[in-house]
């Protein structure tokens, strides 16, 4: 009995408890605007966390995603500032840029054999520099409404739920696709194998470089999508992406991803992102200042991993 309870991923339980706590604190949360706002804000971090999960499952870390978010917002606004009608082209260009960044990350890791923390840290610093150079250090151009649609618009006057943020639809679609890729395709299995033991995967004929490339590309592309949502939500700024990579890693870890590879689930990672967002919301409601939020994030980060280790030992898996 105890063993079976331990086997259920506790993240879902924690999420439930937190949501109840929020609802008690602020009954308004139970109304559509309450929970929809919550989901809208969680969407970018959930998407980022699932992307990060791919890299974590493959055995690495991607620290560059925060700066990809920034670069997406800055780059889009500069390009759209010159040509406001080019929304779709700019989005395509940004996604293509995400693919390139992911490929470069993966190739540096796979061929130059630089540990992924260092490789993506270098990418983070470099992209930050590129964003600054490109913009001259300050936002340029602007984001037209067609671009901001995804992050900003609420579909109104719906039955039952009344409003539905477009960002939520984006999140469901992106996370759904990535769930399929991770859990219902050969690729997902190969990804786990590569993260578990790259050498044995290599010897088994797994195209481990390609598998890694896809993981890093997924991560960068989710960062671009998160950037589009965040830019859409609040507009251009040079600091949108700061610290997001750590939040994404935290969310994945809360969801039970195995650091250094081999295990990971999309569903619980999304739940992990919602838990993180719920904790932040709750702290805000209770009037805790930002520093305390940091403390709490630190504590849950450590306890999530400690708990996962403990469970693994207990269940013997």
């Amino acid at each position: 009995m105890m063993a079976r309870l331990l086997r259920i991923n506790p993240v879902y339980l924690v999420l439930l408890v937190l949501l109840i706590a929020i609802a008690i604190q602020s009954p308004h949360f139970l109304q559509p605007t309450g929970y929809m706002n919550f989901l809208k804000r969680a969407a970018p971090i959930a998407i980022l966390a699932v992307g990060q999960l791919y890299v974590i499952t493959s055995g690495g870390f991607d620290l560059s995603t925060g700066s990809v978010v920034t670069l997406t917002v800055i780059g889009s606004s500069i390009l759209l500032g010159q040509n406001p009608d080019a929304t779709w082209m700019v989005i395509t260009a940004m996604l293509a840029g995400g693919v390139v960044i992911g490929v470069v990350n993966a190739l540096v890791v796979a061929y130059l054999r630089v540990p992924s923390i260092i490789a993506t840290l270098g990418m983070m610093i470099t992209l930050g520099g590129i964003a600054l150079t490109w913009s001259g250090g300050s936002p340029r151009g602007y984001l037209p409404d067609t671009y901001r649609f995804f992050g900003r618009v609420l579909i109104k006057d719906l039955p039952v739920i009344k409003i539905l943020p477009v960002a939520l639809i984006v999140m469901v679609v992106v996370c759904g696709l990535l769930w399929l890729l991770m859990h219902r395709t050969n690729y997902g299995k190969l990804l786990h194998a590569v993260g578990d033991n790259p050498k044995s995967a290599h010897f088994a004929g797994v195209p481990y470089v390609q598998v890694r490339v896809v993981a890093f590309v997924v991560s960068s592309v989710t960062a671009v999508i998160a950037g589009i949502l965040l830019g859409g939500f609040a507009g251009v700024s040079t600091s949108v992406g700061t610290g997001l990579e750590l939040q994404a890693i935290t969310a994945a870890v809360i969801g039970g991803a195995q650091l250094l590879g081999g295990r990971g689930a999309v569903g619980s990672t999304v739940a992990g992102a919602l838990v993180l967002q719920a904790i932040f919301t709750l702290l805000n409601m209770l009037g805790f200042p930002k520093p305390i939020r940091d403390v709490v994030q630190g504590v849950i980060l450590i306890s999530a991993v400690a708990l996962a280790t403990y469970r693994r030992r207990k269940t013997g898996s």
């Binding site: 055995g59 690495g60 870390f61 540096v108 890791v109 061929y111 130059l112 054999r113 630089v114 540990p115 992924s116 923390i117 260092i118 490789a119 840290l121 270098g122 990418m123 983070m124 610093i125 470099t126 992209l127 930050g128 520099g129 590129i130 600054l132 150079t133 250090g137 993260g195 790259p198 050498k199 290599h202 481990y208 750590l246 890693i249 870890v253 650091l259 250094l260 590879g261 200042p289 930002k290 520093p291 305390i292 939020r293 940091d294 403390v295 709490v296 994030q297 630190g298 504590v299 980060l301 450590i302 991993v305 400690a306 280790t309 403990y310």
Partner: protein, 317 residues
Amino acid sequence: MNGRIARFAPVLLLLAAFAIYIGIALATDQSQYLTFDNLLGLLGRSIALGITAVGQTFAILIASIDLSVANLISVAAVLASYIMSGDPSMMLPAVVAVLLVGAVVGLVNGLIITQLEVNPLIATLGMALILQGLLSASFTNFAGEVPKEFQTFAYGEVGGVSVSLVFLVILTGAAWAFLKFTRMGSNIYSVGGNADAAKLAGVRTARVVILAHVICSLCASVAGLYLASRLRSGAPWIGRDGVYDLESIAVVVIGGTVLAGGRGGVWGTLVGVMIFSLIDSIFNIAGVDAFAKQILRGVIIVAAVAVYAARSKRIEA
């Protein structure tokens, strides 16, 4: 053979950086930068980084890592200047208190890693958030001031060489001797090389890990004291703004200590610090603008690590 190249790679990198430095100074007709004083000054630029990196070397040698050093530096600096508050008689209590806090932070890091079996990256990242949160909740600005006497640490000179530089060299020498000639030092290499083997051979691995983290945190605290002395006071952001966490890791790796643990040493780290200082100075005399600098720095970190990593046949995570 490979081992020998690896051994001298940091020195080769240093010579390369040095050649570029001289080349640029001559090419831009700024030979005033080539005086002996100026070259000593080069190292003097990075005392805080150097002290921190010597500590970080211990963490990395045992196959761990410490991302909490930057925030600990802030804590140490603020605490020191707060306790001293300009009163010379409070210098000793302040230093003792700061070192004590450092030791406790290292101890807690080590305990989380060994007893709760939390991945060191996550454990120290969590610690970083906790320290920063607690500090920012208590102090929002420069707190107190260090007395004139205490500034000798940063600004004093002995025989024409700055006290702090002498201190850094002595610290490095002591760390080297500790690693080379004591049983504990030997254990640090063993635990980093293969913790299971060390454990079977009767090494109390947990103690070794904890000790390495205590040393790492103590060094960070000393770096905090140095910064308090240099800046006359401590503020909650100085560690973070100096990016001492990531930079200390980068210089350790560039200095030839492998992230996987068990191989490397503190002299290499010092060479890594010199390479970083040189790069900074090259940027300064070449007049590279701040944004381009950032791009180059990211590329250089990755490239330098790749120099070591590409030779290894291992498939890296």
